[in-house]
Symmetry: D2
Subunit: 337 residues, 4 copies
């Protein structure tokens, strides 16, 4: 199966190439980057496995091999423009940008600060979170890959199942991400070594663009409404990894087994690991892997769930490959374990 | 005024010595450390200012200059044992350990996992948070210095004044601290470079020993009860600094001016800085200073307050000097600006 | 081909397991660690690929599958004791410890501060640096894997070929290594976060144990003596990676093409990359890879060579696999590109 | 004594202001920064002591208080242009830029890649390294502050005194500096967090602009020529601190006491500390101080000297204040211990 990667010069594109280099069923045939046009992959990313080292970066606008699955790892604006054209040409698509995730146009335009010119595509797109939506992904032509923070939030809440009906009050979430998930290679003082090192900062308080996505999909298959999610992201002085705390108050006392029996329904998920204590959660255990690690602690009717994932892998490139495997009828874990 | 520092070989003791080296009214005359007995200060801390370089570490049990103010920067167990004896001898005392902070013996023994053999001293001690308790500190013989996390939580909530009565639901707090506030020099794998670097972890979930202290003093001067504080601390891969997010839901819509008019009552506090946006909060602005920086953002009836301090300064050594200045009738800011 | 890994609980053992998980021709069947006896691999290293997750750590002294190739990733003392027994039983062996590298017993005992009780094995052992010694490795039963710093030094000098005869004066080398190459998981204050972070230190000046190894093999195939190597290692506040500067003065003016024509003889080496400028050398390009990156700059008759490798991969685990491939008649790069 | 600081918005300017805030004899009256014009000091550097918080940044070209000592912490180009005018007006000057340090116009133009339009000022300027040149500084109107790397190199070699005559072969030096000494706040990808973190790189090999300065002043008061200095700087993933190794071969065997008796001549220098072993050198002991720590080790006729200083203090701002104290007849250590 041929694959084209638009935006392969970014950190997510690079990780997709790293995984594809060892994937037996996909063959990367086309990479684009407006910044690195005419350079070879190996010049830009000498640390990648050598399989694709001689691929040459093309312009985004250069012709895309007709029978290839297309991964869009491009800025939101570029995806907004290119996705409709690519679908029209019949490509299967994984879009890693944020533009086809949320079903409220109003929320999209408020949180993304962009006009959505192709909102009708929201009828066709499948939200690419396999643990929540596997069946639909298998039959999809067009998959929207979830946000990194969103993945770390939605799955733990969704796994609570019917217990979600008993939540009382807000769901208060604090997350922290490594720099590769928050601006990567940008030439801005805010991401300079001297700004980030020996520091820790909140950002986009009350208005991070993943909030409506969390609110929509955490409520997946719920009968009633989910309470409001209050989400605060932070910038960590590390390369990669997201840690998320989810604090929930229930309307009645919990016991541990109530949570466990819900979580047990997902124990066979190949990329979800449930750990005994939230203090066992360790970013070093998920970095460079496609795992989402989850654990929880109960105190009276309070619950805290802690989750961790690699923003570049389960939060982006790995999840994209997981979706591609499903779309193409390949075993879901190929290339990812 | 003579000062003795018990436990001067730790990171807090070191910072007290750094500040005292430049303080015009205090003279450090006695330092103890059971680990460094008979070594000179300069051998152990070559980067300190040179004023006290020839002071020699004594045993904790060696005689203490009779007319000296005593700072205890020792482990909880040592303070439990020594404080009653020192008070009996008439010393003025600042205790930086946690043992004389909370007025519930039950909570103390639950959160500190220690028997409290001198609980009657709780009648005599003054809680050393100047912005909350200045008058009592001025007349005190015995002051208990607040916890580092506790300071970052209590003051922002206390500053809300009567608005505290309108809080609906839990007060959900996420804090993160540099390593010097969470285990410092300990020879444990958990604090090894390879464990902490490129990592971020929660710890003591639902049972951090500062929780009852936060619960008690955040409600200072309130007429009704304060809702429950749910507090989660994290270990940051940095040297020092604490960042705290406080998420509050009110029973009715807020406007910014309601918060501002409460905070304005504390605008003249010499060590509190109110910043325009919580995204301006920056650990680099408070490191090595005695400032607590605070800001907030409102969205409907949700409020987030973000605060930041240096765990070794406003969270320990600096606050101790601020208290000593008050106790001795010196201008509160001397040595600290 | 079956493989047993003694000392699989250390950082090098872990990397060997990571590579073997994806290697088509080796099957790891036995892992030992006196520290983790009876624990499963996945408990200790949850971030490893899942292939070997259910392997259980055995004692070093437990029986080793008879027909397995044995990798020793154990301390020097353990290798000294076990290697003779394993050879007697007919195992093929890769020893990653330092005890069978240097042919001077006097130097061994001086630099390693150990008695060498099985020095006669030095007649049988093959030094496992493929770029220097490939033919001998192919036929070897017993291979000693080079030191990490030593690899970064020996190859660049060896690649100079006959130019080595023209060196005038000392070869002065400064190297710096990440913590995983210099004490890793040790529970010592010297490797605590607060000691290593925001710091940089030289260590083992004039007496690092890799010095005699560098001196011996850098002179491989030389007709005259190599001048003295003066080597200074440093501890970097990073996880992994070694950067090495080699400063050489020649007895006559160099031109760039003289160096290039020597280096060109090794341009087809699969794991050596020659970069245009030493200022292009970047640890991020070699981390997690088996590459040794090399470049140089000439000024009059002065030469500086800069090299970089990952201390855990080309400096340990990756080089061991490269040797295993050669010993077993497999394509040298399998599992490593 | 009034002081004006041109270029006060940079990291060096900030440290000068930090020291002056606690200095009893200098009064900062004027600060400039073309970037921060009309902003107050406290807005730009909230972590500084509060003494000068209301000073407002002016343009470099705004009028300078006539009777003030002027510190130039500006780029080389700005100093080239402004210094002649300021001298003409009679100001005493400390220039922290590099333009008035070396007496070879050819070397200046080669290493600095700038035309030197006011080279005649080299007859008037005094090189501001107090341990080498104290007497001249005391009477100077115009002092050029040394480079940070240069200070860490020149003093240890100068302290060797007549032993310098016995050096055989090159003086090979490897230095590493924190980011604040190598590009600070620059908005360049090379100084982004993701570029610097988990990395270590050499730069300006054979052509760092401090090389001619080292070569000139290391030979201060020598009768013969000093051998060539081969200097390689590196970028460390830390905030501040320089570590320097100096490797020297002598023409005859050394004994330790020969070095010690030379170094003893400088044992009373207030800002030089001689440590027992080079492995005791620790950046954490010199950070935020004006000390230069030095130690050495001898092996046969080889000598290694290791030195360490804070690039912003003894390498820039602290040394500038030390010079100002000398120029104004104040005790040299005031404000710096």
């Amino acid at each position: 199966m041929k694959v084209s990667i638009l935006g392969a010069g970014g950190l997510t594109g690079k990780e997709i190439l790293r995984i594809l280099s060892r994937h037996p069923h996909f063959e990367c045939v086309h990479i684009t980057s407006d910044k690195y046009v005419n350079k070879s992959l190996i010049e830009i990313f000498p640390d990648l496995p050598q399989k694709y080292k001689n691929l040459i970066f093309q312009k985004h606008s250069s012709p895309i091999p007709t029978d290839s699955l297309v991964v869009l790892a491009v800025p939101d604006e570029v995806s907004l423009m290119m996705t409709p054209l690519l679908l029209e040409k019949g490509h299967s698509i994984i879009d890693i940008s944020g533009v086809y995730r949320i079903h409220s146009k109003e929320n999209f335009e408020k949180f993304y600060k962009l006009k959505h010119e192709s909102f009708s595509l929201m009828d066709k797109v499948v939200y690419g979170l396999p643990e929540l939506n596997r069946k639909n992904i298998k039959n999809a032509q067009f998959v929207s890959n979830p946000g990194c923070y969103a993945t770390s939030v939605i799955l733990p809440i969704f796994f609570l199942g019917e217990l979600r009906e008993k939540i009382s009050g807000d769901i208060v979430i604090s997350s922290a991400s490594g720099v590769s998930g928050a601006g990567g290679r940008k030439e801005e003082v805010a991401y300079s070594f001297l700004s980030v090192y020996e520091n820790f900062k909140p950002y986009r308080i009350f208005n991070h663009q993943h909030i409506p996505e969390m609110q929509e999909y955490s409520a997946f298959k719920m009968k009633t409404n989910l309470p409001e999610i209050i989400f605060t992201p932070h910038l960590l002085p590390i390369h990669s990894g997201i840690l998320t705390d989810i604090v929930i108050r229930f309307s009645k006392e919990l016991d541990v087994s109530m949570i466990e029996s819900q979580f047990n329904l997902f124990r066979k998920e190949p990329f979800i690991r449930f750990l005994p204590s939230p203090e066992d959660i360790n970013l070093q255990n998920i970095q460079k892997t496609n795992f989402l690690d989850i654990s929880f602690k109960v105190d009276g009717n309070k619950l805290i769930i802690v989750s961790a994932l690699d923003n570049l892998i389960k939060g982006a490139a790995g999840q994209a490959i997981q979706n591609m495997n499903l779309m193409m009828g390949i075993e879901e874990t190929v290339g990812l374990l």
